[in-house]
C-alpha cells in the first residue's frame, strides 16, 4: 500500500504542466532519433545530457526517459514501413511487420506494434512500482562484497545470456573496464593508463564512447549496406487502429509470455535487443501460427514488440534500486544521475523519494503520451525517411562531434569519438556486443571500488566473497552464468547440430 501512496505522490510531481511539456518534447526527439538510422536511444540520450545540467534532476530524468520511450517506438515505425530497423532492438519487428505492411495493412501492423509495445511497457512499469523499493530495501543491507558480487553477476549474465560469442563479450567488457580506469584513481589519487597523454587525466567519458560506438559505427554499417527506403503507404486509418488494438486481447498468452521474457531480460542485463529476438524465437516455436511467421503474422509483431518495451522499461529497475543499468541506454541515464549529483542505488529510495516516484509515475504517463504522439506523427516521420542518406550522414557526424566536445570542452574527445567509431564498426561487423562495453565504462569505477573496499575489509583475502550465504550464492550464480556457454557448447557437441539460422540472424544484428 505504501508503494501506491508513493506512486500517487509521484503523479502529483509528474503531472505538472512543465513535466508534461518535457514529456512531449522528449518523446518527439526520441521518435526522431529512433527513426533516423545512425542515431539511436543511447546516443540521443547522451546528446541531451549536457543540456540537462541546469535542470532539476526530476525534470531532467523525465526528459531523458521520455526520449527513451520515443526512441523505442520510433524504431518500430521504420521497421514496419521501410524494413529498416531504426534501433537494433526493433530488428525482429521487421520479420513480420514489414510483410504485413507491404500486404496493404500498414495501419494494422503499426497499431498492433504500438498496442503490444504499450502493454509491454505497462507490465514493466507495474513491476518497477511494486518491486523496485523492495529490492532497494534488500540492497540497503549490502556491503561492498555483496555489491561486487552483484556487479559480477550482472557482467556474467552478459557473457552467459547475451547471445554473442562469449569470448568477444568478455573482451568487450574488459576493454570497458580498462577505459573506465583511465585517469585519476579515486582511491589512491594516482594517474592511471594515460599512456603519456596529459589530457587523458580527466578520463574518458561514456558519452564520447557512445557517440562513436553507436553514432559513427552505426553510420559506417548503414552506408555499407546501402539502405534504400522503399516506403509503403504511411496513411493512418483510425478505425483500423481501434480494431487492431481491440483484437490484441485475443493474443493474451503471447502478450503475457513476451512481457515476462522482456522483464526478465531487462532486469538481468540482457537488454531489449536480446529480449525481442528471444521472444520472437519462442513465439515462433509455441504459436499455433508458428509456421506462418515471417509472412505478416500478428503474433510475430506482438512478440518482439512487447518484449522490447518490457525490457526497455524494466531495465530501469536495477538501475534505480541497485545502481546497475539493464541496457546501454539505462547506463547512459545512470551516468546522467551521477553527473547530477545523485547516487544511483538503494539510497535513492530513502533520500530522493520525489525523484524516484516522480520518475516512476512519469513512466506511466510518458508511455501513454508516446503512443498518442507516435500514432499522430507517423506520416511526418515517414516523410523524414525520404531525405537522402547523403545529407543525413554528414549531419549526424557533426552532431556526434558536437556531442562529444560538449561533455568537457575538449578537442581530444572528438578525436577519441572518431576512434570509437572505427571500433564500433569493427565490433558490429564482427558481432562483438557493444552494450557490455558501455555498461563497463559507466560502472567500472564502482565495481572496482567495491572490490577494493571488500579487500580492505578482509585484509586481502578473497574468502570474503564466500563469507555469508547471500554473497556466496551471488558469486556462485555468476560463475554458473559464465560457464553456461561452455556447458551449452558441450551439450550441443554431444547432441550434434542445432538450429543455427535464428542464432545467425541474431548475431548479425548485434
Amino acid at each position: 500500500m505504501e508503494n501506491l501512496q508513493s506512486l500517487l505522490h509521484g503523479f502529483t510531481i509528474a503531472l505538472s504542466l512543465q513535466h508534461l511539456a518535457l514529456m512531449v518534447v522528449g518523446v518527439l526527439l526520441g521518435i526522431l532519433v529512433g527513426v533516423l538510422p545512425g542515431l539511436g536511444a543511447p546516443n540521443g540520450v547522451s546528446l541531451l545530457l549536457p543540456l540537462t545540467f541546469g535542470m532539476q534532476p526530476v525534470s531532467a530524468i523525465i526528459l531523458l526517459s521520455s526520449m527513451y520511450w520515443g526512441a523505442l517506438f520510433g524504431g518500430s515505425v521504420t521497421s514496419i514501413l521501410f524494413n529498416i530497423p531504426g534501433e537494433p532492438s526493433s530488428v525482429a519487428t521487421t520479420f513480420d511487420g514489414y510483410p504485413m505492411a507491404r500486404e496493404g495493412r500498414p495501419t494494422t501492423a503499426l497499431a498492433t506494434a504500438f498496442g503490444s509495445a504499450a502493454f509491454g511497457a505497462l507490465v514493466g512499469v507495474i513491476l518497477i512500482t511494486f518491486l523496485a523499493s523492495w529490492v532497494a530495501q534488500v540492497a540497503l543491507a549490502f556491503g561492498p562484497a555483496e555489491y561486487f558480487a552483484v556487479y559480477f553477476l550482472a557482467f556474467a549474465s552478459f557473457v552467459g545470456m547475451g547471445g554473442a560469442a562469449p569470448m568477444k563479450t568478455v573482451v568487450a567488457l574488459a576493454i570497458g573496464f580498462a577505459i573506465a580506469a583511465i585517469g585519476i584513481d579515486t582511491v589512491s589519487g594516482s594517474v592511471r593508463l594515460t599512456m603519456g597523454i596529459d589530457e587523458l587525466v580527466k578520463g574518458v567519458s561514456f558519452v564520447v564512447a557512445v557517440m562513436g560506438l553507436f553514432g559513427i559505427g552505426e553510420l559506417l554499417i548503414a552506408v555499407e549496406e546501402e539502405i534504400h527506403a522503399r516506403a509503403v503507404s504511411s496513411k493512418i486509418d483510425w478505425l483500423e487502429v481501434f480494431r487492431a488494438v481491440g483484437n490484441l486481447p485475443k493474443h493474451g498468452t503471447a502478450l503475457l509470455r513476451s512481457a515476462a521474457i522482456g522483464c526478465w531480460m531487462g532486469i538481468t542485463p540482457g537488454g531489449p535487443t536480446a529480449a525481442s529476438f528471444m521472444s520472437y524465437g519462442i513465439a515462433k516455436r509455441f504459436s499455433r501460427q508458428g509456421k506462418r511467421f515471417g509472412s505478416g503474422e500478428v503474433e510475430g509483431i506482438i512478440a518482439p514488440e512487447t518484449a522490447d518495451h518490457a525490457a526497455g522499461t524494466s531495465a530501469l529497475l536495477p538501475m534505480l534500486s541497485l545502481g546497475i543499468p539493464g541496457s546501454a541506454t539505462a547506463a547512459v541515464m545512470m551516468g546522467g544521475l551521477m553527473i547530477w549529483g545523485l547516487n544511483p542505488g538503494p539510497m535513492l529510495f530513502v533520500d530522493q523519494k520525489d525523484f524516484v516516484w516522480g520518475l516512476i509515475a512519469s513512466m506511466y504517463v510518458g508511455n501513454i503520451v508516446a503512443v498518442a504522439l507516435v500514432l499522430l506523427t507517423v506520416p511526418v516521420f515517414a516523410a523524414l525517411m525520404r531525405i537522402p542518406f547523403a545529407i543525413i550522414a554528414p549531419l549526424i557526424v557533426i552532431i556526434c562531434a558536437v556531442g562529444a566536445y560538449s561533455v568537457s570542452n575538449s578537442y581530444l574527445d572528438i578525436v577519441l569519438m572518431l576512434g570509437f567509431g572505427v571500433i564500433g564498426y569493427l565490433f558490429k561487423k564482427l558481432n562483438y556486443p557493444l552494450a557490455p562495453l558501455v555498461l563497463a565504462i559507466v560502472i567500472g569505477d564502482k565495481a572496482e571500488d567495491a572490490f577494493r573496499q571488500s579487500m580492505l575489509m578482509s585484509k586481502g583475502s578473497l574468502t570474503i566473497f564466500f563469507d555469508n550465504r547471500l554473497v556466496t550464492s551471488l558469486v556462485v550464480a555468476g560463475f554458473a552464468l559464465l560457464l553456461l556457454p561452455l556447458a551449452l557448447q558441450l551439450l550441443r557437441l554431444l547432441r550434434g547440430g542445432a538450429d543455427t539460422r535464428q542464432a545467425w540472424v541474431q548475431r548479425r544484428w548485434r
Binding site: 549536457p50 543540456l51 560469442a165 569470448m167 568477444k168 568478455v170 573482451v171 574488459a174 576493454i175 573496464f177 580498462a178 580506469a181 584513481d185 582511491v187 589512491s188 594516482s190 592511471r192 593508463l193 594515460t194 599512456m195 559513427i216 553510420l219 559506417l220 552506408v223 555499407e224 546501402e226 537522402p388 547523403a390 545529407i391 550522414a393 554528414p394 549531419l395 557526424v397 557533426i398 562531434a401 558536437v402 566536445y405 560538449s406 570542452n409 578537442y411 572528438i414 578525436v415 572518431l418 567509431g421 572505427v422 571500433i423 564498426y425 569493427l426 565490433f427 561487423k429 564482427l430 562483438y432 572496482e448 572490490f451 577494493r452 579487500m455 580492505l456 586481502g460
Partner: protein
Amino acid sequence: MISRRALEAVTAVLTGSFGLAVVISSLGNGIGWGNDGVDPGTFPFITGVIILAGSLYNLVRGLSGIGIAVSRDDLRRIAGLFVPAAIFVGAIPYAGMYLASAGYIFGVLALPKHQSLPRALIIALATPLALYIVFERMFQVSLPHGELAATLGY
C-alpha cells in the same frame, strides 16, 4: 576487398595491443597488495590480462573465418563517408567547428554532385547557423572557434 579472416585478425590484434598497453602501463602503478590495500594498478592489470588472453583466443578462432567481410564496393562507400569525416575532425582546431562543418557539408554534397550547387550551399550555411543558435545561444555551450578565428581576433 577484405576477407572475414583478415578483419577478425586485425580486430583481435587491435584489442590485444590495447590489452598489452594496459598491462604495461598498470605495472607502473604497482600491482598486488600494498600498505593501503589493493594497489591502484591491480584492477587495470587484471582487465589487461583478460583482454590480452581473450584477444589471443579470438585471433585463433577468427583465423578459421571464411568468406568476404567487406567487398571493394563496400570499402569505397565506407571510405566515402569516413575520409571526409576524418578531414572534418582534423580541420576543427584550425577552422573552428562552424567553418569546418560548413565546409564539410558543402564538400560532401556538392563535390560528388549529390545535390545541386545552390541546395548544397543552403544546407552548408544553415547547419553552422543552427549549431550556433542551439549551442552558443540557447544552451551557452561554446563550441571551438579555431585558430583562424583567433588570429582574426574573434
